[in-house]
Symmetry: none
Subunit: 402 residues, 2 copies
């Protein structure tokens, strides 16, 4: 298996700097009318020029045919085999939000406010995407729910999202989720997957019962769904695995959570990518690896909005010169998975990437898209192979064997 | 490892339909005179047109440089790692022939009638390919052979082929084969590979001794060879692994046997590909996955008959519109291995494939052959990766992780 344990002994700390720009949902599919994908449609002068000086390829996020969630997709980019390291959504969310008190032994879950009808059938999985201004007071009400002797807290995340934290003795994360993944049907009860998880399942269901009574008069957010129950994850840190001093720059909480779990320094930043680039510039001297995250491509793809995905890729392109001006030793543009607008969803399709360094076999036209990358000199590789390649091109892996 | 166990939890049953057309021995090599392979020589208007709307690639059947038999070649196409799941040739044959009584604890072997000289040296491994009309009465004679207290049966398969079934206590499949794979040398005795297989080896050799006495007056079929000793195989079914309701359409017994082992519904069909396509049409509403098998390309290749392989590929091409008219959600043309006419044998060369679905990054010229597929957008992949890709393109794999 290609994985962090194999690299631990041969990685060396150096002053060279790696920037990994993760474009969430980067890959796409051709528009039925034009035959061109989002990347092929967008006008990307800076990215294309960089591609002309870079080695291109495609990454398979997890394994062929498998569509990853954001967690597995990012884990692979940082060199952690997502089939081996599994992190619950609850922990990802909890660790990404400032001020959440999440400790060893706690169980956290990602919560959605949602809308049900009088018969309890699901009408809207996101309660009409109610804004934080509406959801935060509701979180305050849910926060006062008491179940047995547990210490229960409800923290707002953003819009319709919250985190439930349960603290007590003998809690277990081995629970099923409530989300039926479609509307028109009833929510599922939380069920224990092991005998020892029964008490935790009962507590979660009792919380939901009380939450429904609390919210019953609400127009949209009249119910909650819980998923991704998880305890504190334990993964080898990137510092330990790679001899790095890594930093993460991400506006969205979940990606900060993932970075925290991998031991990255999560830098304070703003809500926009302009803020993120400013943060990168400001902390340039402090770290040797920067993960910088661009979310809008995934959001537009998930909304099925081809033109918007093209637009946000073009917007991203305008920031590339500022990153290049920092002269990173290795620069990568990668994606955690594809989100083709025509599918309005994450997908399994291999994801374009470029790797810029003086030590590549760069070739081909200055053009960054699914088809140019399919013919790229780096070939089609597993995403988990990217990190060793980035480290190698930065001179951070010593010789294996005599 | 890419393998069925990882997919089990994320596959979902849907109404979408997959057709996998397996062209046995599909891949070839250039003709020394023209520099063009069988596929490049053949006139394939329908297949080439389909290729123009499909994603192309090559499959490595087992691992680089390894030439597979039909069993491993097909297992990989259905997503079962052939290095992990080993099925004896005897079991493949036995399960493909109607009316063979093969149960748990039995040992079966594939038998060949063959020709030896007075010194027992092998003259013809297939007894001049004697027809069933001659071999069936001989099988009847062999069927009356008695060895110890074993229940021994001999079943005709086709032409020079038969199945030997041994039933009794404590039998073992851990036996060597008799076939020296070349003429002019003596047949090999059956030898035990483990201590506990000694009695079974003795019984097999005693059967062969009596068979030789029974056949000694025959002109061509004056001896038998046994190989592929095997007990009942146990593999996870495709229904269990993929949430599929799969059907197999194959004129040749061995492929029906393999399909049975994987839990496919083996549909009754005739001797020709026209019969097979008619069977596909007739049962279209009953299943969500169809394996349909085309044998003549392999036969022509094994005979070293380049022109005949070209001809049977052109014949296959005429049936493509009928399959397309059924509008499968995912259509694949694949091969279990290459059988280059110039080698007159199976080979290790990667095998062309096409995958047609609305969700591919289809590209390139309408041309289906070894070289166009080597440049295809799907790249060169392991055959075992095809099935997850087929399932993904049919919307039958749900998201992995949050």
């Amino acid at each position: 298996m290609i994985d962090v344990p194999h690299l631990r002994d041969i990685c060396v700390g150096t002053s060279s700097k790696i920037v990994m720009l993760v474009v969430d949902g980067l890959g796409g599919l051709p528009h039925p009318k034009t035959g061109r994908s989002e990347l092929e449609t967008a006008c990307l002068p800076n990215i294309d020029a960089t591609a002309g000086e870079s080695a291109l390829g495609l990454t398979i996020p997890v394994m062929p045919g498998v569509t990853p969630g954001s967690g597995p997709g990012h884990l692979a980019l940082f060199g952690y085999d997502p089939l081996r390291y599994v992190i619950g959504r609850g922990a990802l969310e909890a660790m990404g939000v400032n001020g959440i008190d999440f400790q060893e032994g706690d169980i956290v879950a990602r919560g959605n406010f949602c809308t049900v009808d009088d018969h309890g059938l699901l009408l809207d999985r996101r309660a009409g995407r109610i804004p934080s201004a509406l959801s935060e007071p509701l979180c305050g009400e849910l926060d006062s729910i008491q179940v047995d002797s547990l210490d229960i807290r409800v923290y707002p995340v953003k819009d319709y999202r919250f985190v439930l934290r349960m603290r007590g003795n003998g809690l277990s994360e081995n629970l099923t989720e409530m989300d039926p993944q479609r509307t028109g049907v009833a929510l599922q009860n939380v069920k224990a997957l092991t005998l020892s998880a029964r008490a935790t399942a009962d507590a979660a269901n009792e919380f939901v019962r009380q939450a429904r009574l609390t919210l019953i008069q609400e127009e949209r957010a009249n119910m909650v769904m819980l998923r991704g129950f998880s305890g504190m994850p334990h993964l080898p840190s990137m510092a330990h695995a790679y001899q790095l001093n890594p930093a993460a720059i991400a506006a969205y909480p979940m990606y900060r959570g993932l970075a925290t779990i991998l031991g990255m320094h999560v830098l304070a930043t703003g809500e926009t990518f302009a803020d993120e680039v400013e943060t990168l510039e400001k902390h340039w001297d402090d770290h040797d690896f920067f993960f910088i995250h661009y979310k809008p491509a995934d959001t537009a793809g998930e909304d099925g909005n081809f033109d918007e995905k093209v637009r946000v890729l073009e917007k991203l392109d305008t920031f590339i010169p500022r990153i290049m001006d920092l002269k990173p030793d290795v620069f990568l543009i990668v994606g955690d998975h594809s989100t083709p607008s025509v599918m309005a969803n994450h997908s399994w399709h291999p994801v374009p990437f470029l790797l810029k360094s003086p030590w590549t076999r760069a070739q081909g036209p200055p053009s960054f898209n699914e088809r140019s990358c399919a013919l790229g000199v780096m070939g089609t590789i597993r995403a988990v192979e990217l990190m060793p390649l980035a480290l190698a091109h930065a001179g951070k892996i010593s010789k294996f064997g005599a």
